[in-house]
Every structure is written in C-alpha cells, then in structure tokens.
C-alpha cells in the first residue's frame, strides 16, 4: 500500500462518510485534475537566470567584479544607521562611506573633464578599495 493510498483512506476524519462522495471518488477527481508542466519558455527563463546569476557570482569582466566587491562589502553592513555597532566599526564604516562620497565627487569632476583623468579615477578607486579591504585588489582583478 502506497503512502498516497494510506492517506486516501485515513487521517484525521478523512474516512468519515460525507454524503455523496466517497474517498475513492475524490481520489479519482483529484487525479483527473492535472497541473501544467513547466513550459519550454519557463525552462529557458530558468536557464537564463542561472547564466545571469553565475556571471555575477563568478565574474568575467572588471565591471562585474567591481560590482560584486561593492555589493559584498555593503552586505557586511547590517545597519546603515550604525545603531548598535561598536565605536570602531562606526569609525571604519564612517570613514569608508566618506571616502566613497569623495569618490563620487571626484568622479563627477573627472567626467566633467571628458574622462581625461580616467586612469587617475581608477587608481583612486583602487586605493579606496585597498583601504577598505586591506590591499590585494590588483591581484584579485588579475586573477579574474
């Protein structure tokens, strides 16, 4: 006897007579009501989600890797308001946020100069990340 057959005839009052429809009738009706299968288009969507997700996770280009590092960094900050954080943590986070704010300002200034100082901007960004992550950013990028 399968689990399903056991359930069909048992359980908390399942077998109680309900006028007009037996347990067997109910099982036949349930069996006749099919659910749709996953369509090919859904399977294609699932596959493309995997592709997108693995691109973000494993990186393939520099921009993706930058995004991942920034995202991972912020995911380690549970509360942006710093409530409950230790004084040291508040100091470090405040410093990094100030540096990022400065970076935004600097990037705005660079873009106003038609990108002439792009390399300077990248070097500055790397130095901010070096401060935040303890160095080794170049090595990590090279490893990509």
């Amino acid at each position: 006897m399968t689990n399903r057959e056991r359930n069909d005839g048992g359980g908390d009052g399942a077998g109680e007579p309900v006028r007009g429809l037996s347990e067997t009738d109910l099982s036949r009706l349930l069996d006749a009501a099919h659910a749709p299968k996953a369509s090919e288009s859904l399977q294609a969507r699932l596959m493309s989600d995997f592709d997108r997700s693995s691109r973000v996770s494993f990186g393939g280009d520099r921009n993706t890797f930058r995004l991942r590092m920034v995202r991972d960094f912020f995911s380690t900050m549970p509360d942006i308001s710093f409530v409950g954080a230790s004084p040291l943590a508040r100091f470090v986070r405040g410093g990094v946020l100030a540096a990022l704010g400065g970076l935004g300002f600097f990037a705005g200034a660079v873009s106003a100069n038609e990108g002439a100082e792009e390399e300077m901007a990248i070097a500055y960004f790397e130095s901010v990340l070096d401060v935040g992550f303890g160095g080794g950013v170049e090595d990590l990028w090279d490893a990509q």
Binding site: N3, D8, D25, R28, L42, D49
Partner: protein
C-alpha cells in the same frame, strides 16, 4: 553520461561552481514538480510560473553554499517553493484563480470529452483553491507529488501527525465541496 547518474546534491554542487550542464539537468529534473506545487498553491499558470522562477533563482543564489545537512535536495527545493507561494498568497491576499481550466487535456480525443474534462478539472482546482493554505500544501505534496508524510512534514517544517491531520481535513473539505456536483463530475465526466 555523467549527468544521468549524478545525484541532485552533486548537481547542485556543480551548479554552484557555474556548471551550466548541471543547472540544466536540475531544471529538467525538478521544474515540472516545482511548477506543479506552485500551480496547486496559486491556482493560476502565470503566477505559478513566476513562483517557480523565483524558487529556482533562490536555488542559483544559494547553490554555491548549499549543504545537505542530512536533508534531501528535493525536500529543500519543495520547502523553498512552498515558502515562495505562501509569501505570495500572504502578500497578495487570497484570490480566486483566474484560470482554473486544466492545461493538459490532450488525452481526451473529442471536443465534448475535452470540455467535460476541463469542467471537472476546473471544479477540482476551485475546490482546492478554497482550502486553507496549509491544507492545500499538504494535498499538493502528499497526493500530487506523492511525498511520504515524513517528507511532507520535513518540507512543511511540522510533525507527521500535523500533516496527517491537515490531509484529513483537506480531503473532508474537498469531499464536502465537490459532493453536490458528484453526478456531473463523475458520471458526466466519464470517471464512474
């Protein structure tokens, strides 16, 4: 072929490392069943597809760090699908399914038989949609997906006794709802 013999757990590990073939195999193995649970829970195809997609997205995001910890992968996946559906139902409130007609009635060769099969399935889907969420989930897992009560209890994070109780109440509720339509459903629908 390697993918023919790989366990789900091995496939998840490989997918977590970015193996596209492993991900494709997981989709082939589990998308129908995830879709089935989502459809039983949400009662509408488009919503079920969205929920199935969200379930797999959670899988891809967690594949790299997924650990069996004594649980089968399919149990974990069903649990994710169930939670996605329950979240959606609670966010959107309980709604009657917009599309209760069956999607697969190809077995019925004639138009009138197809129509009757569609009516019967619509009545059953509507009756299932009226059940409380947990009873609906118990029916979806135990009757349709043929999970054991122990597996269903693990998916639903409850006891086996609670699953049995949910199933009993669900079946009794369905019989009450469908009893007035017995003649047309069974005799008219050719199931008698």
């Amino acid at each position: 072929m390697r993918s023919d013999v790989d366990s789900d757990e091995a496939l998840v590990t490989r997918a977590g490392r970015g193996d596209r073939t492993a991900a494709g195999e997981l989709i082939l193995r589990h998308s129908d069943r995830v879709m089935g649970v989502c459809y039983r829970m949400l009662g509408e195809r488009a919503a079920a597809e969205d929920a199935a997609q969200e379930t797999f997205l959670k899988l891809w995001r967690n594949a790299a760090k997924w650990e069996p910890r004594g649980a089968k992968f399919s149990t974990w996946l069903y649990r994710v699908a169930s939670n996605v559906c329950l979240d959606r139902l609670r966010r959107g409130g309980r709604e009657a399914p917009e599309e209760a007609a069956p999607e697969r009635i190809d077995d019925a060769p004639h138009a009138d038989e197809r129509l009757m099969a569609a009516d019967r399935a619509a009545a059953v889907h509507a009756a299932i949609a009226q059940l409380p969420e947990r009873q609906r989930l118990a029916i979806a897992l135990c009757h349709y997906e043929e999970l054991s009560n122990i597996e269903a209890a693990a998916v639903m994070e409850t006891t086996v006794e609670a699953v049995e109780s949910l199933l009993g109440r669900a079946r009794r509720g369905l019989r009450r709802t469908l009893a007035p339509m017995r003649e047309e459903l069974l005799e008219g629908g050719g199931l008698k």
